[in-house]
Amino acid sequence: MTLPDSPLSVVELVCAGLSAVILVGYLVARPPLVRATKLALLLGLGVFPIGAAFSGNVHGFEGTKERRFCGSCHTMVLHAADSDDPASQTLAAQHARNKMFGSENCYSCHANYGMFGTILTKAGGMRHVWMYLTGYRTKSLEEDKKEIRLLEPSQMNSNCMQCHSTEDNLWLKVPDHHASLDDTRAGRLGCASAGCHGLAHPFWGTDAGAKP
């Protein structure tokens, strides 16, 4: 359990509290349906709950970017634990220690890139929920490790290239970068692969079907 830590969550709580006071007041007093009662109920059933829902939506959507959110499904416990580990040297953990990524490192690396990236990512998230409910919910972590894989591994380099543009001279001076430039940009050779920068998560590549 966490305490409200953002202005939006405070707004949501205040709206919900005001609404609850009006509604409980009505339920206790049961006044006749005169104009003042209608106005109070309009606030209690309409204005304040809509305010709570709106601020809750924004707060909720922001919350879905957090690693804590991603790691709340048991299938992602290992991934989140690795990112939380200050001693881990995997790509995921290293990026989690970078303030640019921080607690949103899952989202930063796995969100779709582009104008509709956020929407596509949320739609993809609903697909994950469906897969969890219809399959992974009853499976163990060991089984999950064997089966979980990227849907579009070739797209992952695009996300790396949001920061590591592959255009910088320093980057191009690295012989391996220069030699694999076309394959890297086309996504045929993963930045996060065993021969390059290593696997993003420590248990990837240890089982069939779990290659980045």
């Binding site: 949501e12 609850a20 509604l23 349906l33 209690g44 059933l45 709950p49 707060h59």
Partner: protein
């Protein structure tokens, strides 16, 4: 809609809205997958339904008043 059923609908709307508010604020204290999903689906659905019920009650009340007004006009001054 009789005054009794009006009152019953309003009570149902208030109770539903209170449940909706509880579901919507749950995600603040536990921002994990299920609370967030429940808040954005069941919580908001319940809240919308309760507001719609309130709208129906107000509409029915307005029409009843309009009908009463017409009836008293037709009866004429005594």
């Amino acid at each position: 809609m009789s005054p009794r059923s009006t009152r019953r609908w309003l009570v149902v709307a208030c109770v539903s809205a209170l449940a909706a508010l509880a579901l919507m604020t749950w995600q603040i204290f536990d921002p994990t997958v299920w609370p967030v999903m429940v808040a954005m689906s069941l919580g908001q659905g319940l809240g919308t339904a309760s507001f719609a019920a309130f709208g129906l009650v107000v509409r029915a009340d307005f029409r009843a008043r309009l009908r009463d007004g017409k009836a008293s006009k037709q009866a004429g001054p005594e």
